[in-house]
Symmetry: C2
Subunit: 309 residues, 2 copies
């Protein structure tokens, strides 16, 4: 048995609600974060892909994070995304997160230039760690090559964990490639490995992984957390099947608008449909189709722990 | 004959020199920009892909632009890149450029999210124009889908030019797909169309296009400008061949480090080799191979107008 990761569970890349003028709706953001933590989320990977973080400015991200902490959300459960296309922006955000005592940061590699070398990814991460210069910095690498156009290869993970064993502590593998997640788990025991989707959660936990950081944890953190609590039990495969079925209902649509449309519908709150360009709200017919499928599955947001288990 | 574009010539996406601490080397930047304008460049598309612009912060870009203008570079020849992954950053930079009286801005679409809809690209551009709210804003769309993961389709160009005929005035097509450039030229006469490489310059000019905005104009603006001046002459195809040959010498290597290495070598200035991560300097052997090839072609940076013509 591989060593068990010290940080475990379901981390939610919390959606970012917007006001009609497209500014961050801090009240709804706080409300959503508190609701997630009260309903299954072990922590919040705020400012991830699902959070439309790369449609926010550096200033907006720092203000929204500080406001969460000021409003009583413990930084010990926060893992903000801090990786930007500009090195110095990544330094600014990572330093800010460390200074606020966050559990860790979820670090995208720079995502504009393509065909970037392993050496370039290592150099970027290394510069960030040295420029932040804060022993509290704990980095979770964010591997999502299909979106970022760059990623953390196994050799880069090896080099980073050897060079910076205290700073580089884990990874979120959103490649969707289980073979890659499996290779990370087998090659780096003790490295805190999160699957980027609950589809691979049971497999990840069985190999000593930490859990998952998944978009659909915005609507089903409790259902996913139930598997983290019971993965050694005989019914674990059945629970895995049920949470995968719900996930697949969302995967038929653009994920972020689909999640926002679902919260909007279940909370009777039109405002939740707002996305920032370049994203667009879910078209009405897609919204109806998704809602019908969710009704079929008996999905109710505020009773999710009962209905999805 | 298609109408001739009012803005014409070779625009250089000026390289950004960095100091050893990776900060923008404003002195070398100014020197390079002035040298380009004195040696063939009609204008400068500062903060493009070749400028490592997406490795810079918004603040760095505004400071460097203002410093150029303060140092006497006419804003009437400046076309700064202003498209970021965050809508509000694009607004900030575009407003800043318009307020400084720049000829135009070169607008990347938001480049993090993939599979973005035409409607999302239109909405982004539309929001930028409305939020900038400055009649001086002139946008050149920057189409480089292989890097940005998003681009401006023909229907989007049509919709934008119909809706905002005074603001959306041209395009840089860096797709490398001549069929696409040709379709833009044929469908939108009078739209200021620049090829993203001098390889297609003669073809672009013959269809009424504006010129090119090309990375290699950092080392060969004079040679490329010579074709713009003489494209109707009988030797135009020969000149096209010669500038294409030089371009191809660079295309064998990572373009930005190769250009910086060439300037570094020709100016005997090591500092020019510095790139910002995730890019890495050109490896020594590649640098030697490139230099040998350039020697073979008789390339001399400061005598480029003689040697390359």
């Amino acid at each position: 048995m591989s060593p068990v990761s010290p940080v475990r569970g379901v981390f939610t890349p919390a959606l970012t609600p917007f006001a009609a003028d497209l500014s961050v709706d801090q009240d709804r953001f706080l409300e959503h974060c508190k609701w997630l933590l009260a309903n299954g989320a072990s922590g919040l990977a705020v400012f991830g892909t699902t959070s439309e973080a790369n449609s926010l400015t550096v200033q907006e991200r720092m203000q929204a994070l500080a406001a969460l902490v000021d409003a009583g959300v413990s930084p010990a459960v926060l893992m903000p995304g801090t990786g930007c296309s500009s090195l110095f922006d990544s330094v600014t955000l990572s330093k800010h997160a460390a200074q606020h005592g966050c559990l860790g940061v979820l670090l995208l590699p720079p995502f504009y230039y393509k065909s970037v070398s392993d050496d370039g990814i290592f150099a970027t991460t290394s510069e960030i760690i040295q420029r932040v210069g804060d022993a509290r910095l704990r980095i979770y690498l964010y591997h999502i090559p299909q979106m970022a156009g760059a990623g953390y290869s196994l050799p880069v993970i090896g080099r980073l964990t050897r060079e910076y064993p205290k700073a580089v502590v884990g990874i979120k593998d959103s490649s969707g490639d289980w073979k890659n997640t499996e290779a990370i788990l087998r090659n780096f025991p003790g490295f805190e490995t999160f699957s980027g989707s609950e589809t691979f959660l049971l497999d990840t936990l069985r190999l000593g992984g930490a859990g998952c950081i998944s978009a659909t944890a915005n609507v089903n953190a409790a259902g996913i957390a139930h598997l983290v609590d019971t993965w050694k039990d005989s019914q674990a495969d059945d629970i895995q099947k049920r949470i995968t079925t719900l996930r697949k209902a969302f995967e038929k649509y653009p994920m972020i608008p689909a999640l926002k449309a679902t919260i909007s519908r279940q909370r009777h709150d039109d405002s939740w449909n707002t996305v920032r360009p370049p994203l667009r709200p879910l078209p009405p017919q897609a919204g109806k189709d998704l809602a019908a499928r969710l009704d079929e599955l008996g999905f109710v947001l505020d009773a999710v722990s009962e209905t999805v288990r």
